[in-house]
Point group: C2
Chain length 475, copies 2
């Protein structure tokens, strides 16, 4: 029942509250109305943040929010068997919550035009509620986040549609997770400034634009299930799709992959066995070390950076934003030293699209490996031949990047509350028949329906895989 | 297809290789044939084991196998918010593997009459292969474990029927897991001494005896899925069950609970939401500390023990066993200071048995909580009124322990390779209508079919819950 509501909302390409062009104008207006000023500063200019005496960890004076710490990693995976790096430690589980409501029978999602200090274009569409535990328990003594009460004090007038723990970037966060939650209410909802109702189809539409839908929205909607193949679902799809003609072959194929629960290359048990084998074989040991004992990393007045300028920097910034709970503050951010690439290669088996999924070990993973896109060089140098190690399928992706095999191609941002203007190329490439079947041991073909099943459980799909999946539209 | 084979084997109460009474005689003979001698010794008498100078951790000279270490635990769960304790650290993932083969069309499991130093009655039926990574990479330079080659070098003549990572006791092990794997082969298999083919129905039969089926077997078979409700499965059940009459009401109800995937009190999504809520609310921080800095624990010549004699001791033993790879050795074992109780309360909703499941936080859990039996006081004092804190539903279980509501009642052992003669009371109690519907926040009613789905994924059901589930027979 719930799932068919999601399907219906996903197939509603334009909204009943605001039309797509109105939303674009509204976002543009918000961007111009609100004053934003982000400045890189020195560590010594941080307020309420500082390096702890013993560990040299970068912490908030309250002991809350997050801290920048050092880790030493040992593994038998890949070619780098031991390294040290800074990492974000934020042990609390926060809310990424979307409030939904039926308008004229179609589920609409309450989205916020939210400014984050690290956003490349300042304003992006974020979930209704985006709050760390420190936020909503009000460590910084600001106003409580909007709509918090719907999530914290649930009443009988609201129903949980989705409620999952999902991981963040394992290369940057130490075992960080958020609570991804979607509620449906039948109450009258006051629409506050900066908020707006969108259908899931509209969110998918704006995922075709660069940097409009923020990472937090993407992870929440990635978990939405569309149910298994049924006559009702197919009838609904066929009733709506004839109105739209363009590019429908790929989209309808994706819809089938999302609901087909019978035809797949590998059974669910086989995929679990593949994951079990890898988790048994590979080890990941992470020890926390003082940040000033990191090998190959330097701490200057203005940044913590790798000695060869690789990977990422930790930088202190001063932020002034007018529509935030607190309008001016300082904080550290992570600054990637180069753009990344995130790509899924897809291919039909038995008439159903399968995703070429990579099992990937990252230092901050809770459970050794998570399922990742075919190619994910988030911080590596992906220009051909300049990588430190070979990235499987990278050449294939680079060679086909401008071909008509590319079915999805945008830039999407990392979360602007922690990452400074970081965007990554997001690609979905339909390989057709032109693709080798020989896979490295950590790759497997999986349908969208199977991926949606894994997403329900903790720590199976990583945030990059979820981000790409969130962008898949059906019409 | 695979699942119906499991059903068929579960419904085959006596075997084609050895009959149940022959197996009992064989076990009795093995027990008398093999010489066993287990002695408690002093720590100073341990060979190749010793306390590390700095941390005082108890480690093997190879750095392999396991070690006894100290942890400091902080949580906001329950009444004890901070404590220290010794814990077993064994970061490797070992094999618990069962080789199966069809004999006259029915799947038989290759079981081993295995002696472990801590076993209460020395010999118990264990999986075909029970080996830590140190074992099978032969750190102790003994012979390789029997049948290892079937699991390590799999050929096209074997099929994986089950392959899951499963957790061990969170109160005693730091995030320890094993690879639970079942293979089916169609090759001719040499039956070595101490090995024997049993149907799943026979294993269930012997789970009605005290301490015959070891913990490792119980965890492997607990993961076996019986599929969803189908006409084929019901026909199979009805074809077999008329031959057996006694006590079938409960067993057939359990069979329905195992395969019914439609009628349940809570949907799968609601159960996941319940788990998400608890994992978001409760925190678990575990820091490793030197074992000689444990508060309230003493280290003497012969044991590490709690100052009030509570919980468990770590004791050094000398073991001499004739059918092991190495026939004499010393090692530390965990000795519980008292017997525990493990009980599931079950009740029908919508005509289908549901299990009253407890979400339980234990220090060694990988992911904060795992699903546990209704009552689990593994090391507590369960005699009424003598517990340090109230255990929900303990009074109910104690009051009904001798009534006809009890449908399963045995003593089962913990794993004899780490635990010294530890057995726990295992109970399943059918509450009927006589049971309050008011549950503490960390309890939920879940069908066996739903539990079997969760088992497939990492770290959802704890080992005590799995142990009880393994004992459920259908005929």
């Amino acid at each position: 029942m719930i799932k068919i509501d999601f399907v219906k909302s996903a197939l509603t390409k334009d909204g009943f509250y605001l039309k797509n062009d109105q939303i674009l104008k509204w976002l543009y207006d918000r961007r111009n109305t609100i004053k934003v000023n982000i400045q890189k500063i020195k560590f010594s200019e941080l307020v309420n943040w500082g390096f702890e005496k013993e560990t040299h960890n970068l912490v908030h004076s309250s002991g809350k929010f997050f801290s920048i710490e050092g880790i030493k990693v040992n593994t038998n995976w890949g070619s780098a068997l031991e390294w040290t790096q800074p990492i974000i430690n934020q042990p609390e589980i926060g809310y990424l919550g979307i409030l939904t409501k039926k308008i004229d029978g179609v589920l609409h999602f309450l989205m916020q035009a939210k400014i984050e200090p690290g956003n490349i274009n300042y304003v992006q569409l974020s979930p209704t509620l985006q709050a760390t535990k420190s936020n909503y328990t009000q460590v910084h003594k600001g106003n409580p986040p909007n709509y918090l009460e719907y999530f914290r004090n649930r009443t009988s007038s609201s129903v949980v549609l989705l409620d999952q723990l999902q991981s963040e970037q394992g290369a940057r966060f130490l075992r960080k997770r958020n609570r991804n939650i979607i509620l449906e209410t039948n109450e009258e909802i006051e629409i506050k400034e900066d908020f707006c109702w969108l259908t899931l189809g509209q969110i998918h539409h704006f995922l075709g634009y660069d940097n409009v839908i923020n990472m937090d929205t993407r992870t929440v909607i990635s978990g939405i299930p569309f149910g298994n193949y049924s006559r009702d679902t197919i009838n609904l799809y066929e009733a709506i799709t004839p109105m739209h003609s363009q590019d429908l072959e790929f989209s309808s194929g994706m819809f089938l992959s999302a609901i087909e629960n019978d035809n797949h290359k590998y059974s669910f048990e086989e995929i679990i066995s593949w994951i079990t084998e890898l988790k048994s074989k590979y080890e990941l040991t992470v020890d926390r070390i003082p940040i000033n004992e990191l090998k190959d990393w330097n701490i200057s007045e203005t940044k913590i950076s790798h000695k060869d300028g690789k990977y990422f920097n930790i930088i202190p910034v001063h932020a002034e934003i007018e529509n935030r709970e607190v309008s001016a503050w300082t904080q550290p951010l992570v600054e990637s030293v180069q753009e990344g690439i995130i790509a899924f290669v897809v291919k039909k088996f038995k008439g159903v699209f399968h995703f070429l999924v990579q099992a990937k070990l990252e230092a901050g993973n809770l459970d050794i490996i998570e399922l990742a896109p075919t190619v994910q060089c988030l911080t590596g140098n992906y220009r051909k031949g300049m990588n430190e190690y070979e990235v499987p399928f990278l050449d294939y992706v680079l060679e086909n990047m401008d071909s008509d095999k590319v079915k999805y191609n945008t830039y999407q941002s990392e979360e602007g509350g922690r990452f400074y203007r970081e965007q990554n190329k997001n690609l979905i490439i339909d390989a057709g028949d032109d693709f080798s079947e020989d896979l490295p041991e950590n790759y497997c073909w999986i349908t969208l329906n199977q991926l949606k099943t894994f997403i329900q459980f903790n720590n199976y799909l990583n945030i990059q895989a979820r981000s790409l999946i969130s962008a898949i539209k059906f019409i």
